[in-house]
């Protein structure tokens, strides 16, 4: 019997802990992409994003509700972020395996809501349910596929109780997607072959259908790396020679600087014609990194790189407008030139 009081106490504490979040607020019910009904706060003021894509979406929709970053912004990113959000701490990542975030650390940041934005499958559904059960913080997952982008922005806006802001950004997204479709319909013959180079040697690539490369296909590019499992892979320079891509898109600054002098890359049409383009990366990437709303400006950028004779509009002005609307910081001329590398 000696142990009974302690056990009873623990059980009571546990029960209180489990009951507490449910009692703590009057929520509203929201059905997330996995079909779970989640009770979310009326107007969540402290929100944690579980992974980098969600972090970006949360930042563009409701930056003052962020409790921290999954990964702290790098020095290069700071000029393009609102000062308040830029200074937030790095808390770590919660999505998928190999979490770097301790739940206790998360709870010390006292979030009222956890949002995630990305793949919807059994693993993530289970993860959401488990984290919610364990921490008592409601956990909402929104579909992160490219096609669902405007819809997902609206849903996230609903969860975060910022519907007007979401409507504005979703309308922008719809316009860009419609413009891209119109451009592609105009030139059905032109579909450049594209190689996506990653890593300092440029020998890592994302195969067709992977989330890291889907934007290329969305703008009509033919990803030369067709074979594969829709993931990242390594290829040999000889294979790139055999593919002979017309355009090379890279996210690696070193590779972009070196490719002109690396002997094994000579003779590839993209290199010979100067069509190797470094995707801007601050504060979020144009191609992926993370695969989130930041890719909307990547659509316009790629359209200008793929179809220089057909793409309409002033890219610099478009980029500045996008940064102003989404990131809350309008870059000046010098910052734009540094960002776009021209």
């Amino acid at each position: 019997m000696r142990y009974f009081p302690a056990t009873a106490l623990k059980a009571a504490a546990l029960a209180a802990l489990v009951a507490l979040p449910a009692l703590a607020f009057d929520g509203r019910s929201f059905t997330d992409a996995t079909g779970r009904d989640v009770l979310v706060p009326e107007n969540p003021a402290r929100v944690f994003a579980a992974g980098p894509p969600a972090s970006t979406l949360l930042y563009v929709l409701k930056p003052d509700s962020m409790v921290g970053w999954v990964r702290a912004p790098k020095p290069d990113d700071l000029p393009f972020l609102r000062p308040g959000a830029a200074a937030l701490p790095e808390l770590g990542q919660l999505t998928g395996k190999g979490d770097t975030l301790n739940l206790e650390v998360l709870l010390t940041a006292t979030p009222e809501l956890i949002v995630d934005y990305g793949s919807v499958n059994a693993t993530y559904k289970d993860l959401a349910a488990r984290v919610q059960e364990q921490s008592g913080v409601p956990y909402v997952l929104i579909d992160g596929s490219f096609a669902a982008l405007p819809q997902s922005i609206r849903q996230m806006g609903e969860v975060l109780a910022v519907p007007e802001r979401a409507e504005e950004l979703a309308t922008y997204a719809e316009t860009v997607l419609a413009e891209t479709d119109a451009l592609l319909a105009e030139i059905p013959e032109e579909r450049p072959s594209v190689y996506l180079a990653r890593g300092p040697e440029g020998l890592e690539t994302a195969t067709k259908g992977s989330i890291n490369a889907e934007i290329i296909e969305r703008v009509g590019g033919r990803n030369v790396a067709e074979e594969g499992t829709g993931n990242l892979a390594t290829v040999s320079p000889e294979q790139v020679q055999a593919w002979a891509p017309e355009v090379i898109i890279t996210i690696d600054r070193d590779f972009a600087a070196k490719v002109g002098t690396m002997p094994e890359w000579q003779g590839i049409p993209a290199v010979a014609n100067g069509r190797v383009y470094l995707a801007p990366a601050a504060p979020f990437g144009f191609i992926d990194r993370p695969p989130s709303v930041n890719r909307l400006i990547g659509l316009k950028w790629l359209a200008h790189k793929f179809y220089p004779d057909h793409a309409e509009g002033d890219l610099r002005a478009d980029v500045a407008a996008f940064y102003g609307l989404f990131y809350g910081v309008t870059p000046d001329d010098a910052a734009l030139s540094a960002l776009l590398g021209d």
């Binding site: 980098p52 990964r71 990542q93 190999g98 770097t100 990653r198 890593g199 300092p200 040697e201 020998l203 890592e204 195969t207 890291n212 790396a225 067709e226 074979e227 594969g228 990242l232 892979a233 390594t234 290829v235 040999s236 320079p237 000889e238 294979q239 020679q241 055999a242 996210i251 690696d252 070193d254 002997p263 094994e264 000579q266 003779g267 992926d288 990194r289 993370p290």
Partner: protein
């Protein structure tokens, strides 16, 4: 211990046969690849003609890579042979003293810090050497200093530390860009092999191989055991240290260029032993030639069976494990004491 007598290879025909095998492997490596090059075109380019793109592919991509594969295979096989003889243990591979784990740790650290490729390779090379140096210092300063068992146990401990370091680096790495690079590197690949890489690794590998070749008779005597070797005038501990230094130099150079490629250093010496018997002076050249040829073939497969590269570590294990089991099943006549 007689050499493998039932084998159809006679002692005199062995050297020409192995050389011919290596030549064939090299030829296959040069002729096969994802970029279509006919033998005729290859001959044209080698003679100084051909179009610019074929020349780029052959001179800058395929030949350096085939040569790099041959070097890596030769280095790992020679290092493995030397270790197995020096430690009098057929289960020893060049990683036993932690060189691969150490070099791996240095290289992934270089990737994490965003160093240029050459610096990544140099870091890997240096940490590989440093790891083995640490193991040696440890084992000599412990009780019973310099005993093989103590040395191997120290190697396991330090290797485990380096493995923990690799895991830590993986955890800290940017999951979208650095982590895939680290994963690919740890599985081994020659996809990025360049002439400059070969030029950088060649001196280290030759410098490691030469002493082994020159001292092949003395090293062979180590197989008799410390006391017997001593009565024949061989200072076992010092010779063993020299072997470790040479093998480490070679392995570290190979690993820093190709990533972690397992199995070659363990398996190829056994294949060679089937042909030559356990005498080190015959075993070393045979293993070196077989290692070079085998690696060239494996690498040719790695870049040809799919558009995407198949990591070398996967292929060597898939090919190596069955061969190894088959060798075990044939009995241990070739190497039993």
């Amino acid at each position: 211990m007689p050499p493998f007598r039932r084998c159809w290879v006679t002692e005199r025909s062995l050297a020409p046969l192995l050389l011919a095998g290596l030549a064939l492997a090299l030829l296959a490596g040069i002729a096969i690849g994802p970029f279509p090059l006919s033998l005729r075109r290859i001959a044209e380019v080698l003679a100084g003609g051909g179009d610019a793109q074929s020349a780029t592919v052959l001179w800058n991509i395929r030949l350096p890579r085939v040569f790099a594969a041959a070097l890596v295979g030769a280095a790992l096989a020679a290092a493995g042979t030397a270790y197995q003889t020096a430690f009098r243990n057929p289960l020893v591979s060049p990683d036993i003293l932690g060189v691969s784990a150490g070099a791996g740790f240095g290289a992934v650290l270089g990737i994490l810090l965003g160093l240029p490729v050459l610096a990544i390779q140099l870091t890997g090379f240096a940490t590989g050497l440093a790891t083995v140096a640490l193991v040696l210092v440890l084992s000599f300063s412990l009780r019973g200093g310099g005993q093989v068992l103590v040395m191997v146990l120290c190697g396991i401990a330090v290797g485990a530390l380096a493995g923990a370091g690799i895991s830590l680096v993986k955890l800290l790495a940017d999951p979208e860009q650095q982590l895939p690079a680290i994963t690919f590197w740890l599985m081994g690949s020659l996809a990025g092999a360049k002439r400059t890489d070969v030029a950088a690794a060649l001196p280290a590998i030759v410098a490691g191989l030469m002493p082994l070749v020159l001292l092949r008779w003395r090293i062979g005597l180590l197989a008799l055991g410390n006391d017997e070797a001593k009565t024949l005038g061989v200072e076992a501990t010092r010779l063993r240290l020299l072997i470790i230094a040479c093998a480490t130099l070679m392995t570290s150079a190979a690993v820093s260029m190709a990533g972690v490629v397992g199995w070659i250093g363990l398996m190829v010496p056994h294949m060679a032993r089937l042909l030559t018997g356990p005498r080190f002076d015959r075993l070393l050249p045979a293993a070196t030639l077989i290692g070079a040829g085998f690696m060239v073939l494996v690498d040719t497969a790695a870049r040809s069976i799919a558009q995407m590269e198949v990591p070398l570590g996967i292929l060597t294990a898939v090919l190596g494990a069955p061969v190894f089991v088959w060798l075990l099943a044939r009995g241990s006549r070739g190497w039993a004491e």
